[in-house]
Symmetry: C2
Subunit: 514 residues, 2 copies
């Protein structure tokens, strides 16, 4: 059947306005002369060819000539972008042979361990969109069952090698990463200016929120442009010694983004996959010193000290292999950090800390100083143990704030609306007592329901934290939204479950403000 695409009549490419995410989708007519009903069915895989260029896609078939005529081939937006051929080009379509590297996946399913060459081939095919969702799932699940340490190293190497690989002149390039899950935990935006003010290089790329109400990139975007490409990023780092940008346009470990998009709906979350994801990005970013923040708490990603230890050793092992000095700090992950949750509110907290404002959240300041202290000690010129004092000095003196302003200026002004949501409601304490628990997952979800991170000014402003006394009817937090219906949704959700427990758990009352 290899020859069959040669003599089938070619079709002409048409662009079809369908966002199909990571999946390449092609549409042909049921009356198409190129359609072979015996091999092409809805959702079968096809190979599209122009000369030597090949795109694998998932096929849909239409009877509607207005959508796609018999001589046309429709490409969904992502497929059109990836194929990168003009509308009207002649394209041939044939049944797709599964990528050859799928043999390795099948071997892995049967319990074999894979060679570095096999893993490299799999990652190369994944990064070039040659795997369907199903095939990606097959790889991830086969690896979730068991991944050897050699396989893990090969995976990190392959993932780091497939996209942009940044190289810096400095022998010391520091980086930080947080395992995530804690609302309001925007320490990166305080740590980077402190560390850069010291003169260490810290070219930080961050992600946008996927399941949380704000990623560092979403919050930084309230203050400056974050969608820089590699050249723009390098210019900022050369000028400022650091940056705070979104990683999306830099293309570090692009296979990671694809793998994550399948891991997430399947809720696959093994230590090996987490380590491969993070370390491939750091390796590609050219980092040589990495501080990892492990928040531990009942509603954090890491629930126990033994889990934290196993994960730490895995990070250290991979770091040692690739010449990245990894340090892990375990932090309090029982409740949100700072007060604001959502991009605008978090940016407010960050600037309050950098500006040494009296009402700045003390926990955010303290945690940021502690993390910065670890990174500062990578400076050979600093005396051992002097990191914390130096971090405090750089913050209190305004040097960190000045550095932040320099970074903001270098990245360019923010283009998004950074006003706080115009609709708000207070959630009230259900009883007199002491706050004895805050469910991070619940607070994240409420802030998202209110519109964050898409609506920058939406979110939650916490008035109380664990250990605080509250009187019945006293506001415990305020929900902000820019849309009345989103506020109503968030209120309804908070009434059902506020996320706060005060002595005994009981429903919270909600009172509209303004």
């Amino acid at each position: 059947m290899n020859a069959s695409h040669l003599s089938r009549p070619p079709l002409t490419i048409r662009r079809i306005s369908l966002d199909t995410g990571r999946e390449n989708v092609a549409v042909i007519s049921r009356r198409s002369r190129a359609l072979r009903a015996d091999v092409f069915r809805g959702f079968s895989r096809v190979a599209l060819r122009i000369n030597t260029k090949v795109l694998l896609a998932t096929l849909m078939i239409t009877d509607d000539d207005a959508m796609i005529g018999p001589d046309e081939l429709g490409l969904s937006e992502p497929a059109f972008r990836r194929f990168n051929e003009p509308v009207g080009s002649a394209v041939s379509v044939s049944p797709a042979q599964p990528p050859a590297s799928l043999d390795a996946v099948r071997a892995k399913i049967q319990g074999h361990t894979l060679t570095p060459a096999e893993i490299t081939a799999v990652i190369d095919d994944v990064a070039h969109f040659r795997y369907s969702d199903m095939e990606i799932a097959a790889f991830l699940i086969s690896a979730a069952r068991f991944t050897s340490t050699d396989e893990l190293l090969a995976l990190v190497d392959a993932m780091a090698s497939v996209g942009t690989r940044l190289k810096w002149q400095n022998p010391i390039v520091v980086d930080k990463h947080c395992i995530g899950g804690i609302p309001g935990n925007r320490t990166t935006m305080i740590v980077v200016p402190i560390v850069a003010a010291q003169g260490l290089m810290i070219p930080k790329t961050s992600s946008r929120a996927i399941t949380s109400p704000a990623g560092t990139a979403d919050t930084m975007e309230v203050l400056a442009r974050v969608d820089l490409d590699v050249e723009q990023m390098k210019r900022v780092v050369t000028t400022c010694g650091g940056c705070l940008i979104w990683g999306g346009h830099v293309n570090l470990s692009p296979a990671d983004d694809i793998l994550i998009s399948v891991e997430r709906p399947l809720s696959l979350d093994t230590p090996e996959q987490m380590v491969a994801s993070i370390m491939s990005k750091k390796l590609a970013a050219g980092s040589t010193r990495l501080l990892i923040d492990f928040p531990v708490g009942p509603s954090a990603k890491i629930a126990s000290a033994s889990e934290a230890m196993r994960l730490r050793k895995l990070f250290e092992f991979v770091g040692d292999h690739f010449g990245i000095a990894v340090e892990v700090v375990t932090t309090d992950g029982r409740q949100p950090i700072g007060r604001g949750i959502g991009p605008v509110l978090e940016a407010r907290d960050v600037m309050a800390v950098l500006g040494n404002e009296p009402n700045a959240p003390a926990d955010l300041r303290e945690k940021s100083l502690r993390l910065a202290a670890h990174l500062l000690e990578y400076d050979p010129l600093l005396r051992g143990g002097a990191g914390y004092a130096r971090a405090k000095e750089l913050l209190d003196s305004g040097a960190a704030l000045k550095k932040m302003q320099q970074i903001i200026d270098a990245q360019g002004p923010s283009v998004c609306n950074s006003e706080l949501g115009s609709h708000a409601a207070d959630v009230l304490a259900p009883a007199d007592g002491v706050v004895n628990g805050i469910d991070c997952l619940r607070i994240n979800r409420l802030a998202r329901t209110a519109g964050a991170p898409i609506v920058k000014g939406a979110g939650i402003d916490l008035f109380k934290k664990i250990g605080d006394r509250v009187d019945q009817g006293e506001p415990i937090y305020r929900i902000y939204a820019s849309d009345r219906s989103e506020l109503d949704l968030a209120i309804a959700a908070a009434e059902a479950e506020s996320g706060f427990s005060v002595n005994h758990h009981s429903p919270a009352a909600v009172e509209p403000v303004s």
Copy 2:
């Protein structure tokens, strides 16, 4: 977020002409008020609701109002059919919670064995289209690694219970199944009339070809209608004692069809999955005696005697548990059976055997008699060892042919074009010698390239079999097609690799006929 679908504005259903196979696909506008960009991306999963009815679907997003406007929700053909609500109905859309049974799949990935209740829940969700392709792949791969015998029994039970479950009055209901892969192997169409002529009940459902050039249903369709529903099937079986229909409208073990549609592109093919697939269908069909044909040969599905033994024991174990007496016969799978490959050519061979024509293929006759002999011995009235003689008697006397004609009349006349392809070409022996091998996979592929099974009259007519002497330039087989370009494709493929080896392997010459 549970409440969020309640207050989002509903959309109105529109039907969209897209065949998306087993996957439910929904399309909404990027300007839709129901779209929440934070939770809905291309290819994310959504829940569609009308009152208590829920459909899970994969989402695509359009900017083209002509396709789907901001107040509309487009449903692809399969999703529209499965949701079964009229165009214009008000439907709400919310992020889909993954099916609860996916927790069991995740446990299985981690190496746990599943309880019967967990397996039942998974199969129920799969059969009701609540699993995405990825999620189905996750289940299959987790099970491919290891399936306990208890899990296998639970799987067969769950799969058989989820669709139609046939019950027959007779205590003895016989059935036969072939593991497949051998071109031309249409023994079922000879065995069923012999067995029914004896008075045994044999309500046979068959599949259409998926990767081969003809399934029994495709070939039977040349002679009679095969797309009967359960009631029509029962009437035929009551009248004739047997039937030869396509299983597609009877809905036996529908989860099997869905699982197979994911197993196939991933080339997952474990003994447990094969046994679950076949035994769930037989259990649902109400069979009590089952003969399984294992063709063994280098290009057959089963390549070795030890593999055959392991598979046989698995079938027997499952059969014993469910009260189905399973008998396995190992047959010669080194080459095609009969001469014709493709529906019309195979039907010709079958009718030649039933009609006792002098030129009827002896191997097809002999194999059919042997299989029928095993089944006949299930008749309590027949002496032990008398099965073969009785099968021969029923065939030679014309009783089997008469029964076949009765079955054809009861099922109704064929509605398809049963003419042999009007274009043909002979493939010639490349050298003097003896045929010493025929590659079944290759011959299947050539027949498909010529148009079978979609084109009933397309296929291959073999003139030579293993052991036959050939002279250089003598025709070894003829390719039939109804379309000149399909014939050309098949000729080119046969020239590249004919599938025959004659002494030494060398390319075959091709000579057009007619």
